[in-house]
């Protein structure tokens, strides 16, 4: 069959700059570049290019650039190039379209329509270079009442809390979907930063058990790698009910990635596909969730907070309310922009709701019901900058999860081909030659750099609002104003319009 699809990107090689060193040939796992007959001439096949920029970044003479192909169909407002291409792809393959990373479609990004306040005259802004500026947060359930000993001394009746130096954690990315070196980078950065990373649903490689107090271990519907030692290896246990990129379906890891240690860590045979069931087959309702929450608490002697992660869907408030009464300590909500290693494109692009709206509604609902203290709220999908974090906290989040941003810190160029398993940056791949391209010393350093920079920016933004402790930013919606939002959107977000 003729392949109808014209490459989306075009590689432009400047012959004046190219020294035919062959770096691009060696670096591209997609075999885009080729030395012809061992001559000095390098040619390339645009059709294989995923635009991951590995060659462009590593070319010593900057001879390569990748541009969007100017070739275009006779587009119209209804049939754009992407839609047409997808039809050709499916007509050719007969398969479900797969994609990596988060929803790229043109839906509103509410974070970009919210502005922050600053102090002027009536109260002073606070300079984080000269005054303490606190970003420490604790995640966990808190009781309503205090208790005292007979002599009046307060009794510490708090259930286990997760202390974090800043309201940021690395979200779940399984060992298998990403590489050993990517996991090591995340674990080491989390330990250095005083935050947590999340194993995802692929179990915990034994080498990383030493990062236990900076680890969240995940229990997903496939239960890969789950045993009592695993549950007790981390600081908290997360039940993954759903994921923003693919609400309602389970994780997919092709057998080609189930090799060596991954098969051992997941406790499944090499080469077998790891397809997590769409639901947890022991959770068909909220009361079943409660049983799993308490089973996990029993297995961990009530020493670890239990997180329940859900995708932001239409009736998120009712679901969150149920979870807040289920015994869970923390609710993690993943918005429809959330990333993934692999998801059916149609699901990624059409299911779920924006995290900003889900967060605002859930925070309000839990307060209206008087149960906000029962749980902390963690939000992800998609948090792209320190400003997003400040806005999320002001809307009511206790903390955020970052996934894609963390991957980008390690080198990801958002080519959205994680599912192909040939990540040239050594992140979303299990090919040993590719994995070793990601040096955990450098990967963890770049992660630490990113979050150190963000923490500085968070402090600056808190300071200009006259806030010197993150607690008083939390849920402080008066610090936010919407721009270009309609009445309904403002009402759901619980904020005023700029100028009001």
């Amino acid at each position: 069959m003729i392949n109808y699809i014209y490459p989306e990107y075009e590689i432009i090689r400047n012959p004046d700059k190219c020294i035919s060193c062959g770096v691009c040939v060696r670096q591209c796992a997609n075999e885009v570049h080729e030395n012809i007959n061992k001559t000095n001439k390098v040619i390339c096949d645009d059709s294989k290019c995923v635009n991951c920029h590995r060659c462009a970044v590593l070319c010593p003479t900057r001879a390569i650039k990748i541009v969007k192909s100017g070739n275009t169909y006779r587009e119209n407002a209804n049939w754009n190039c992407k839609t047409i291409d997808e039809i050709y792809k499916q007509a050719q393959s007969g398969g479900v379209l797969l994609s990596g990373m988060g929803n790229p479609e043109n839906y509103p990004v509410y974070f970009d329509k919210i502005l922050l306040n600053a102090s002027q005259v009536t109260n002073p802004s606070i300079d984080p270079l000269r005054e303490p500026m606190e970003t420490r947060v604790f995640l966990g359930k808190r009781p309503d009442d205090i208790m005292r000993e007979s002599n009046g001394k307060l009794i510490n009746n708090l259930p286990p809390q997760l202390p974090l130096s800043m309201p940021i954690m690395f979200s779940a990315m399984s060992y298998g979907s990403i590489s050993y070196n990517a996991h090591e980078s995340l674990a080491r950065a989390a330990a250095q930063l005083g935050i947590l990373y999340n194993t995802g649903e692929g179990g915990l490689h034994e080498d990383f058990s030493k990062y236990g107090k900076n680890t969240i271990v995940q229990v997903a519907s496939g239960r890969f790698g789950v045993h009592v030692g695993y549950l007790n290896a981390g600081a908290a246990v997360e039940i993954k009910m759903g994921q923003g990129a693919k609400p309602g379906i389970g994780g997919h890891l092709p057998g080609t990635k189930i090799v060596g240690d991954i098969s051992r860590t997941r406790m499944i045979p090499e080469g077998s596909d790891a397809i997590s069931p769409a639901p947890h087959h022991d959770i068909y309702s909220i009361e079943d969730l409660r049983q799993l929450v308490f089973s996990l608490k029993e297995a961990t002697q009530y020493k670890k907070p239990v997180i329940v992660k859900i995708a932001a869907v239409h009736n998120i408030t009712a679901i969150a309310s149920g979870i807040a009464r289920s015994g869970a300590d923390i609710i993690a909500i993943d918005g429809f922009r959330g990333g993934t290693g692999a998801a059916p494109t149609r699901i990624r692009d059409n299911v779920g709701i924006p995290i900003e709206l889900a967060l605002a509604s859930v925070d309000k609902r839990l307060r209206d019901e008087g149960i906000r203290r029962n749980v902390s709220i963690v939000v992800g999908g998609s948090i792209r900058s320190s400003a997003d974090i400040v806005k999320a906290v002001a809307l009511g989040a206790d903390c955020v999860y970052i996934g894609s941003s963390a991957l980008m810190a390690m080198g990801c160029h958002l080519c959205r081909n994680c599912h192909a398993g040939r990540c040239n940056w050594g992140i979303a791949t299990q090919v040993p030659e590719l994995v070793k391209r990601l040096n955990p010393d450098i990967g963890s350093k770049r992660l630490v750099n990113l979050l150190t920079a963000w923490r500085h920016e968070i402090k600056e933004m808190m300071g200009l609002m006259g806030i010197n402790s993150i607690e008083t930013l939390k849920g402080n919606r008066l610090m936010l104003r919407g721009v270009g939002l309609n009445e309904k959107e403002l009402q759901i977000l619980g904020i005023k319009h700029a100028g009001e």
Binding site: E131, E134, R142, I146, L154, N156, G370, S469, E471, R477
Partner: protein, 365 residues
């Protein structure tokens, strides 16, 4: 024009307080003189006083001070009061004509005690029952506003300069063991008497100078516990936080100070292990009651007074002592005005509470 509560109005201010540690009563003259010195810090758009120990003959009854916009609202409110309370005494609050105090609403005072049958049916304790009735009147009865509801204490406030307000209410004719005062500098024209300070609920009264940056975080948290912030002022939310922590959670004022002006983590780190554990606990447990941004507050309660600055001390506040008297004010001059020879005078550090319990009174801890 929008009333206080329909719009949020930031304000700068002056505060002053005088308390007699032995519980001896004094006239309200001194507090008027003290706050008058700080006229510069007010702009004539609000002033008020809280006075403790002024109703000894009715000390077992809640003294409700109520503003009415009209006789209709008065009638409706009195019917409500009669359904819920035994009214022992009622009268207009005596005032005198003062230039600068105009547009007075009807101002009435009631000494009441909950009806025993109503109270037992409600399954609430007496103070909670009374507080809920106050909320009910203030949110449901149009044109009626209870601005004072404690026992053996009263709030007196109006739109005007505080010294004029004091003379208007004939405060010099009252005797109490503790007085606090407030002069307001709102950055908008409220024009409604209910919006002046102090803000009080039961016997807790708050005067506050500052503009807190934590307002909406504090408001949204406290509203979870049944409070309704109708005025949108810092003082109102601070008063509710105090009521919540002291009356409902039975925390001591020193613990409350450690919550609302919590020590920094870096300070907590250097504490003894017992202290560290306590402060960590309070900060985690009551994170939403932390207040940031500038404030200096005087919290009056039956039997005592607490003065507290924000954790960075972004507002001035000095404390002085002379014999049994303790003086607290935004400016030293306001103290010197009424007592020129002082035993000692100092400025408390940010977050360091000054708690004065009178002899035989104060909190039981």
């Amino acid at each position: 024009m929008q009333r206080e509560g329909q719009v949020r109005i930031p304000a700068g201010c002056a505060i002053s307080g005088i308390i007699d540690k032995s519980g001896n009563r004094m006239s309200g003259e001194a507090i008027i003189d003290s706050i008058a010195v700080m006229r510069e810090r007010s702009n004539g758009l609000g002033g008020g006083f809280a006075a403790y120990g002024i109703y000894p003959e009715y000390k077992d009854y809640y003294a409700f001070h109520i503003f009415y916009d009209s006789s209709t609202s008065k009638k409706e409110c009195e019917e409500y009061l009669e359904r819920h309370f035994d009214i022992i005494n009622l009268s207009k609050i005596p005032t005198r004509k003062v230039k600068g105090i105009t547009d007075s609403p009807l101002i009435w005072r009631y000494f009441v005690i909950p009806l025993p049958t109503k109270l037992s049916d409600s399954q609430l304790d007496e103070r909670e029952y009374t507080a809920r009735c106050v909320f009910r009147i203030n949110t449901k009865i149009e044109g009626a506003y209870v601005f004072s509801s404690g026992k053996d204490m009263g709030v007196f406030k109006a739109v005007g300069f505080p010294e004029d307000v004091g003379r208007f209410y004939r405060l010099d004719e009252y005797e109490g063991y503790c007085f606090t005062a407030h002069g307001r500098y709102p950055t908008n024209t409220p024009g409604w008497w209910g919006g002046a300070h102090p803000f009080a609920l039961l016997d807790y009264s708050v005067v506050h100078n500052g503009e807190i940056s934590s307002y909406d975080a504090n408001r949204r948290a406290i509203e979870m516990y049944g409070y309704k912030c109708t005025l949108q002022t810092d003082t109102e939310v601070i008063a509710y936080i105090i009521d919540y922590l002291h009356r409902k959670k039975a925390l001591t004022f020193s613990e409350i100070a450690s919550i609302i002006a919590a020590p920094f983590w870096q300070t907590i780190k250097g504490m003894s292990s017992e202290e560290r554990e306590l402060h960590e606990y309070l900060r985690i447990m009551f994170a939403e009651q932390l207040i940031t941004g500038p404030f200096s507050i005087l919290v009056g309660f039956n039997g005592g007074l607490m003065a507290l600055n924000d954790r960075l001390k972004l507002r001035s506040m000095v404390v002085a002592e002379k014999g049994e008297r303790v003086y607290i004010a935004s400016e030293e001059a306001a103290i010197r005005m009424v007592e020129s020879s002082l035993d000692k005078i100092y400025a408390p550090k940010g977050g360091e509470p000054v708690i004065i319990n009178i002899a035989g009174g104060g909190e039981l801890d």
